[in-house]
């Protein structure tokens, strides 16, 4: 991993966690990815992204209560940290900046 740059999937996962609010755990994130972004990814890829984002300090996590589902196992619930939000915002602003740089013409042509 190069510094704290976000990968494409990572950015998506981060956005999903942000949008899921209090219920952001791996399975929910995967479902949301499929539903809103039409991205089908394996659960292990989601795990990979979530834990890496946590290592980078963009996510924080805590255990949620155990349920009778999932064999009574605990869930790890993720939350976007302020650093995570800042990165998301930065990424969005950068993209907007890039968009605004695109000449109107090519915009029409597309």
């Amino acid at each position: 991993m190069k510094g704290n740059n976000l990968g494409e999937l990572e950015e998506l996962v981060l956005l999903m966690v942000a949008s899921l609010g209090d219920e952001a755990y791996a399975v929910a994130v995967r479902e949301e990815l499929e539903k809103t972004a039409s991205r089908v990814v394996n659960i292990s890829a989601v795990h990979s992204s979530l834990y890496r984002l946590e290592d980078k300090g963009f996510l924080s996590s805590e255990f949620g209560g155990a349920t009778s589902k999932r064999g009574g196992k605990k869930k790890r619930l993720f939350k976007v940290t302020s650093a995570g939000f800042a990165t998301l915002k930065e990424s969005k602003e950068m993209k907007e900046q890039l968009w605004s740089n695109i000449p109107q013409l090519s915009f029409v042509n597309s």
């Binding site: 834990y51 009778s68 064999g71 790890r76």
Partner: protein, 890 residues
């Protein structure tokens, strides 16, 4: 709940779970497994068991990509050691302030141990520092002189013959230089200042060069080359010359020899085996002796030193020199059937391990064995102190078990707990070290007074002291912290928190072993001390064969104008003194008991051939010597004034008669001996008495009649004691100075003088006692802590027993029983060990006590009583406490 059967059917493939378990660390496995199970359950409902299982397997296999999460997800890698150490210190301080009694016991014990250790190590370091101030100390040797007759070793002497030094330098290229020093005692005078000086040596010019005795004034190259010149020490310069410049001034020795001061040397350091205030040039002696002091092979009064080239092996040197010597001397030696041997003795070995005839400072001689014992005692004391620490910490582990449990539940790792307890131990050790230094600083004067040592606090400035001390403190903290740390950190939090902790069996065994070790050491030290005292009082009260009570000895006059007048002056002096009612006898002689005899000469029976001549030590006496000392005759008679012929008579001691081959004392009477010029007749044989201390048996002695100048006047005082001693001294001194003007009045009491030979032993026994005391106090501190803890542990049991009706005595018994067993067991170990060690020590004495079993019983009882008192204090208060309170405890 899902029914069991259904649950079984709906379980995902075990292989997948197995893989997951392998891939993820334990911390991550549960949550991730949960996620996969959730997906599995979902798919199970929508797509059926097969698809769900396949997906589950696929998810598990693909999870392999997250294998590296195993390492990264360890929550321990956060770097918070700074905070942790701060936390350790905080907890340590809290524990310290919470358990003031335990902490005080712990720190006191450790501090005492460390103080004792510092004292001993400084003392040992001082004893070992002898002669090392000499720049050349590694290559400086004294020549030891061994003398054999008919192949048998006759004596080993620290002083060699005058010829051997120069001879060695001529023949052996390894010798850089040599110096001889011939010790003397003379009365030194300048103007009207007279003192008897004992630290005089006649020395070669090289003496000041091979030793490091720097000069303040004068030239080291020339100051001892001319006859009748003298180098004096700074102290002597002040004593005789005050602020005057001593260089070039003339001093007189024994009233007859004038010598010019050519240099002033710095005072000889205390840790030198040879000490001087005056060094007279060797040439002075050569002029007096017709150069005998240059050529003689038989006159052994010369401390001879050689400086060898770097890297010379003394053993090889000795061997090589033996051959060279044989070449030179074998004809002469074979003629008399004798053999001389000269061996190199490193000067750094002299103070601690040399115990030869004619040592330079016999009363100051260190005892290598004692120093070795002390080092061991120091180590013992420190170990005992650390054992206390271990004991108290493990005993208290039950109390702290809850803390450990909570810490573990909160996520502390074993290594962190160990770190915490070692930090605690380090803090305690450091605090104790500081307190120990305070004890040393405050107690150093008392220590010096008690042990005649001359330690100062300069070691506090030396880097090596701090280096060693810190090393010891750190190693000690680590070792003493390690065991409690492991015990404490290995508790299972669940058992501890449920309150099931009752101390482990193994810990108790260890504690018992440690207590036994402590008390065994204490018994050893007490019994050892008792034996040393018993032996010392035994030798002091031993019938040495002469009477030394109420005996005043005055040193004879060094200065006397005309030898021809001595006899008559002496006669009137004697009469005047005997007029004093307090004085019962006056005798004179070349020696008094306790004064090492240096006068030796060849002697044989008149009928024997010249080759049979043997060397015998000689003490000149006058008519009154033997009666004054109450030395009994076994045969013959004393010298008698009324016999005009007694100058041709001789008296021997029994050992002397045997030495000369007489079958009995009676047989020796009237036999002729060849000694000096012409034959003399044996008129009397005296009983053997101890000329020197009871460390040695009486040796053969010859007592010729000497009526001329003698070294000592023996004055016997009234047996019933003298009411006003100082008045008597005044009278005697006035008489003495009137008859022998120009002589200082030097006197001593013979018993003090004689018993000073036991100074090394006395010193040793005092040091021994002191540290035995230290060891016992420390062991008691530990026992006190342990027993009060024990009582605390059994609070409930005691409460119940009391409620049922047990009385105080019963409970005290219950609580002390265990310790009594331990102390008894410690005795069993200590007794044989002490017997063995002390028996060895006693073998140093020619007259020794046999070790009585009572001593062991006394030492054992003493330790038992001390232990019981220690245990009893806390036990009593626990036993007396209100059972209701006890039962509410916890």
């Amino acid at each position: 709940m899902i029914p069991a059967g259904q649950n079984h059917v709906n379980r995902p493939p075990a292989l997948g779970t197995f893989l997951l378990r392998k891939i993820y660390s334990a911390e991550l496995f549960e949550e991730i497994h949960g996620d996969l199970l959730e997906l599995y359950e979902e798919r199970l409902e929508t797509k059926g068991k097969w698809i769900a299982s396949l997906h589950y397997l696929k998810d598990a296999v693909l999870s392999a990509r997250n294998y590296d999460l195993r390492r990264k997800r360890h929550y321990t890698t956060q770097n918070n050691s700074g905070a942790m150490i701060r936390n350790y210190l905080k907890i340590t301080l809290r524990t310290i302030s919470k358990n003031k009694v335990y902490t005080a016991l712990n720190i006191m014990g450790l501090a005492l141990g460390m103080a004792a250790c510092i004292f001993i190590m400084q003392y040992v370091a001082y004893e070992r520092s002898y002669d090392k101030f000499n720049v050349n100390f590694k290559n400086l040797y004294r020549i030891q002189y061994n003398f054999y007759r008919e192949g048998e070793l006759q004596f080993e002497c620290a002083a060699a013959v005058p010829r051997v030094g120069p001879f060695m330098k001529e023949k052996m290229p390894e010798v850089v230089d040599f110096a001889r020093a011939y010790p003397l005692s003379m009365v030194v005078s300048y103007n009207n200042i007279n003192f008897r000086e004992d630290r005089i040596h006649i020395a070669d010019p090289a003496f000041l060069k091979i030793f490091t005795f720097p000069l303040i004034k004068g030239d080291v190259e020339t100051c001892l080359t001319e006859p009748n010149t003298v180098v004096i020490s700074e102290t002597a310069a002040k004593k005789y010359f005050g602020d005057e410049d001593p260089i070039g001034k003339m001093i007189r020795a024994d009233g007859q020899y004038s010598m010019a001061v050519t240099a002033v040397a710095k005072d000889v350091p205390n840790n030198s085996h040879i000490k001087f205030d005056f060094l007279i040039s060797y040439q002075t002696l050569n002029n007096q002796t017709d150069n005998q002091s240059e050529t003689a092979w038989g006159w052994y009064d010369f401390n001879s030193y050689v400086l060898l080239r770097d890297g010379t092996d003394p053993v090889a040197f000795n061997k090589k020199f033996a051959d060279v010597l044989y070449e030179e001397r074998h004809e002469e030696e074979e003629k008399y059937n004798i053999r001389q041997e000269f061996l190199l003795q490193p000067i750094t070995d002299i103070h601690l391990s040399s115990n030869l005839l004619q040592e330079s400072e016999p009363d100051e001689a260190g005892d290598g064995e004692a120093v070795f014992f002390l080092t061991i005692i120091a180590a013992f004391i420190l170990v005992i102190a650390w054992i206390n620490y271990i004991n108290l910490s493990t005993a208290r582990s039950v109390e702290r078990a809850k803390e450990v449990g909570v810490r573990k539940v909160m996520g502390a790792f074993k290594a962190q707990l160990i770190g915490q307890f070692i930090t605690e131990s380090l803090v305690m050790n450091l605090l104790s070290f500081v307190l120990g230094l305070v004890i040393v600083t405050l107690g150093i004067n008392q220590f010096n007074a008690l042990t005649d040592a001359s330690l100062d606090l300069s070691f506090l400035l030396s880097a090596s002291f701090w280096g060693v001390a810190m090393l010891v403190v750190f190693i000690g903290s680590f070792l003493s912290g390690l065991y409690p740390a492991f015990v404490l950190s290995s508790y299972q939090p669940s058992t501890v928190l449920k309150g099931k902790m009752t101390g482990k069996k193994g810990g108790i065994l260890l504690r018992k072993t440690l207590v036994i070790f402590q008390f065994a050491s204490s018994v050893c030290l007490i019994a050892g001390t008792l034996i040393v005292y018993q032996q010392l009082s035994f030798v002091r009260n031993l019938d040495l064969g002469f009477d030394m009570t109420e005996t005043l000895v005055v040193k004879g006059p060094g200065v006397f104008a005309a030898d021809s007048l001595y006899g008559s002056t002496m006669q009137t002096f004697r009469n005047e003194l005997l007029q004093m009612p307090e004085i019962t006898a006056l005798a004179s002689g070349t020696n008094v008991p306790g004064d090492e005899i240096f006068w030796a000469n060849g002697i044989k029976r008149a009928e024997e051939p010249n080759e049979a001549r043997k060397t015998i030590y000689i003490a000149g006496v006058d008519y009154d010597y033997f009666p004054a000392y109450d030395i009994r005759f076994v045969a013959g008679r004393n010298y008698d004034r009324t016999f005009g012929t007694d100058t041709g008579s001789l008296i021997l001691n029994e050992a002397g008669a045997k030495f000369l081959g007489f079958a009995s004392a009676e047989e020796a009477i009237n036999q002729k001996l060849s000694w000096g010029r012409g034959n003399k007749t044996i008129v009397g044989i005296v009983e053997d008495y101890n000329q020197m201390s009871a460390k040695t048996k009486p040796t053969p002695l010859l007592f010729p009649l000497v009526t001329g100048r003698s070294s000592f006047f023996t004055i016997k005082l009234d047996k019933n004691g003298v009411s006003d001693l100082s008045q008597l001294f005044d009278k005697v001194e006035r008489t003495y100075t009137a008859y022998f003007p120009g002589n200082p009045f030097d006197y001593f009491f013979l018993d003090d003088f004689f018993n000073r030979q036991y100074n090394p032993e006395k010193k040793f026994s005092r040091v021994f006692t002191l540290f035995a005391g230290f060891a016992i106090v420390i062991a008691c501190l530990g026992l006190f802590g342990l027993s009060s803890f024990n009582a605390l542990q059994k609070t409930k049991e005691i409460g119940i027993r009391k409620a049922i009706g047990a009385d105080v005595g019963h409970i005290v018994m219950l609580l002390s029983k265990e310790f009594v067993y331990l102390v008894l067991f410690a005795n069993l170990i200590a007794w044989p060990a002490t017997w063995f060690i002390m028996n060895n020590w006693l073998d140093n004495f020619a007259y020794r006590i046999s070790i009585s079993p009572m001593i062991f019983v006394i030492a054992g009882l003493l330790v038992l009583v001390i232990a019981l008192l220690t245990v009893g204090y806390k036990t009593m208060s626990t036993a007396k406490s209100d059972p209701v309170k006890a039962l509410r405890y916890e």
